[in-house]
């Protein structure tokens, strides 16, 4: 099983003139995400970042337009039928189920697991640094470990697209960097297409290859992360980040001094 998955690459994700509304002003997305790359989705609160991910995941259904994953329109498919895994900011785990069971649900929604499944689960737990914690309940884990369990489940689910909806926002800076490195590592091994919503420019800078910047329910800018953070980003992005490109620079200096 794991041999086959290693060759499996991420597929392109495209929102084709998608419009959606919660009852207020409509959101319209027309954007493509490169296959097998990490794209940071950024933008002010209420700009539609989570909605964009929910549309790809299938938690929301567009009023018009197409959601294309790997070329196939999945706009009508229920979430479980889409080639997508998503990690939320919280509530990624069932509180009453053990780490192992929570990961196992990624393989079988009724927890009927074969020996191969169990081996894969053990492998995923080892890869995410959770070996020895299989029997624990989520409440016996730290916040970072809980998100590691969610990532382990992503591994056993093995879908070509991974959606991250601010999964590390409630973690401290050092822990967040560890988790980002883990995501980057998993990406290097599996090569899935990653859409990563974050508020932190440093996060996007650390692992993002591309940036899609949303504003007022539409894509305002798009480009490579290097360009964005080299100061060549569009005005809306620079306004959103504020002086943070400078502060990031001055913080680097400060760090060097100490």
């Amino acid at each position: 099983m794991s041999d086959g998955t290693k060759d499996r690459k991420g597929v392109p994700v495209r929102l084709d003139k998608v419009s959606f509304s919660y009852g207020g002003a409509p959101l319209t997305f027309d954007v493509a995400f490169a296959a097998a790359e990490i794209t940071a989705v950024m933008g002010p609160s209420g700009s539609g970042k989570s909605t964009l991910l929910n549309l790809v995941a299938g938690f929301e259904t567009p009023q018009s337009g197409g959601v294309l994953i790997g070329g196939a329109d999945v706009a009508a498919a229920p979430p479980a039928m889409r080639p997508v895994s998503m990690v939320f900011q919280e509530n990624n785990l069932f509180a009453h189920l053990s780490v192992e069971q929570n990961v196992g649900l990624g393989r079988s929604p009724s927890l009927r697991l074969t020996e191969t499944d169990r081996a894969d689960i053990a492998g995923a737990l080892a890869r995410t640094g959770l070996a020895g914690k299989e029997k624990r309940l989520p409440r016996e884990l730290s916040g970072g470990e809980r998100q590691r369990v969610a990532l382990a489940r992503v591994l056993v689910r093995d879908r070509p697209v991974l959606l991250l909806d601010e999964p590390f926002a409630s973690l401290g800076p050092a822990l967040r960097d560890d988790m980002l490195d883990l995501v980057a590592g998993l990406h290097a091994e599996r090569g899935m297409t990653v859409l990563f919503v974050t508020h932190q420019p440093e996060d996007a800078r650390r692992i993002g290859q591309n940036v899609v910047f949303l504003d007022k329910g539409a894509v305002a800018a798009k480009g490579s992360a290097d360009d964005f953070f080299a100061g060549a980003g569009p005005d809306v992005f620079r306004r959103y980040v504020g002086t943070s490109t400078q502060t990031a620079g001055s913080r680097d200096i400060a760090r060097k001094r100490t």
């Binding site: 706009a75 979430p79 479980a80 895994s85 939320f88 509530n91 509180a95 929604p109």
Partner: protein, 541 residues
């Protein structure tokens, strides 16, 4: 166009539950309408002076009971809130929750044991009055019993309201040197006033639909309410036309009251849980302390009296002989089985409605609620508009053409009580399910967990306790109910309350007292269990 995902099984099950409830209530209405159409002139002729008197008495006793419960409750609640910490406070509040758990017939018996013609206080009252104590049958008995139920309930509801006052307001009040009087006027009264319509409305509602109390403590035609009138028309006078008229009047009356209540924003279903009192910054002077203490003690004595009398009278009965009696054993077994089935059905209906409502609410997103969602939501609470006696009467009339009405007694007791307990069961189950769904819905959708695996792996662990709470509460309600069994009971199908009533009727007071103690204890144990199960929260991540 918004695409539709395959139909959620939760909605299908919810529709089935609604259909079952509709069948039960619809069948009763069909019975009433068929009977009314069949004998229209008879139903019309039932509008006589007697009927007018019954309606007047129904409203009069309910109004008086409400007044006598709500007004003293205001002051007792205030007294309790002025003293957030004293020895035994929690115990008093626990005791004030007990009447909620006691079957009405047990309370009625306790009140008779205390204030009746041969009660413990009869000697004292006779000495004071200078003549033989006549006992408290009729209006006075009904009022005492209704106040026994509604005073403690009102106290708890008012106290809950008072506890919503921000601690900062109290800090401010004590900094400004506000005395008891201005504090009441400026801080406590506005809160109490906004809670008053709801509390009074609830008490009024409970009193106009009260059957058992009026049946056991009301005396003769001068003190009869609509519900007892229905029972008498069917069981004694056998005047179906009159029963139809009385029933329709009762429905109209409760409907108006419930409508008024929902307008007032009241909660028609009383709650037994009370949060811990917050810290207060109060200085209470000595006069007030003694006044408050007196108020609390008086209320406590009033509430504890009938309970103590139930226990003492019950222990005085020949419990050993009672336990050996075949009829008692049979009735206990019947009660246990019927109440168990009723609670099971009630919990299943509640779960079906809860999950369907949630599924519908999730799928509509920002759209307006559909009629179906309304039915699974507020619709369920409206079954309270139709008192058990009314449903029973409808089916009684419908089935008497078909065959032996008494043969379906078990079915009626189980189904009617299940539906009656449903609003309470819903209150235990729905918040827990909605909260769990809030956490798990997207995860389940993503991982494709639905149907049985979902119920078993995901929902059951978080619903276990609330379901047990709902079950225990529903079982207690069903166990103590006299409404349906009074209509359908016979020598072949007797429950404990029915047996109790018949022992009272044949003046075997000792036996009745013994049975009341048994019934009261079992119901109390169930409600305590329900409360305990409800309080212990599952820790969440």
């Amino acid at each position: 166009m918004r695409m539709r995902h395959p139909a959620d099984p939760r909605v299908t099950v919810g529709i089935a539950a609604l259909a079952a409830i509709t069948l039960l209530i619809g069948g009763a209405f069909a019975g009433l309408l068929i009977e009314g159409a069949h004998d229209f002139s008879g139903a019309w002729a039932a509008f006589d002076l007697y009927l007018l008197r019954v309606v007047r008495f129904t409203l009069w006793q309910a109004a008086l009971s409400t007044l006598l419960s709500a007004i003293p409750a205001l002051f007792v609640a205030r007294a309790l809130s002025r003293h957030p910490r004293f020895f035994g406070r929690a115990f008093i509040l626990q005791l004030f929750a007990v009447p909620l758990a006691l079957p009405a017939i047990v309370a009625a018996l306790g009140i008779l044991a205390l204030y009746g013609r041969a009660g413990y206080f009869a000697g004292l009252f006779s000495a004071i009055g200078g003549q033989g104590w006549p006992g408290i049958y009729g209006l006075s008995g009904i009022l005492v019993a209704h106040v026994f139920f509604n005073l403690p309930l009102s106290v708890r509801l008012f106290l809950e309201a008072l506890q919503t006052i921000q601690a900062d307001q109290w800090r401010l009040a004590s900094q400004l040197g506000m005395g008891a009087r201005p504090a009441f006027r400026l801080i406590e009264w506005p809160t109490l006033r906004s809670a008053l319509p709801g509390v009074a409305g609830l008490a009024f509602m409970l009193c106009i639909t009260s059957f058992t109390i009026v049946l056991t403590l009301g005396g003769g035609p001068a003190a009869t309410t609509l519900e007892v009138g229905i029972y008498q028309a069917l069981r004694f006078d056998f005047d179906p036309a009159r029963a139809v008229t009385l029933t329709l009047l009762q429905i109209a009356l409760t409907f108006i009251v419930v409508l008024a209540l929902t307008r007032l924003g009241a909660n028609v279903i009383g709650d037994a849980s009370l949060p811990v009192a917050p810290r207060r910054y109060l200085s209470v002077n000595r006069t007030e302390v003694s006044l408050n203490a007196a108020l609390i003690v008086l209320a406590l004595l009033f509430v504890v009296g009938p309970m103590a009398a139930t226990v003492i009278a019950g222990l005085g009965a020949d419990l050993g002989r009672l336990a050996g009696e075949a009829t008692v054993r049979q009735a206990t077994l019947t009660s246990a089985v019927l109440a168990f089935l009723s609670a099971l059905l009630s919990v299943m209906l509640s779960l079906a409605l809860t999950t369907a409502r949630r599924a519908l609410a999730l799928s509509r997103r920002a759209d307006a609620k559909t009629l179906l969602e309304h039915a699974t939501d507020t619709g369920a609470g409206f079954v309270l508009v139709v008192p058990p006696i009314v449903i029973g009467a409808g089916w009684f009339l419908l089935l008497r053409h078909v065959g032996d009405v008494f043969a379906i007694a078990p079915v009626m007791v189980v189904t009617v009580n299940a539906v009656m307990a449903m609003p309470f069961a819903l209150r235990a189950v729905r918040p827990a399910y909605d909260a769990a769904s809030e956490r798990h819905e997207r995860l389940c959708a993503q991982l494709g967990i639905s149907g049985w695996p979902r119920l078993w792996l995901v929902d059951w662990p978080s619903l276990r306790r609330p379901l047990a709470t709902a079950f225990a509460f529903a079982m207690a309600l069903s166990l103590g109910d006299l409404g349906v069994i009074a209509l359908f009971g016979s020598d072949s199908v007797q429950t404990l309350p029915y047996l109790l009533l018949s022992r009272m009727g044949s003046y075997r007071t000792e036996d009745a007292a013994g049975l009341a103690l048994l019934l009261g204890l079992v119901c109390l144990a169930l409600v305590l269990a329900a409360g305990w199960l409800g309080r212990e929260k599952v820790r969440n991540v």
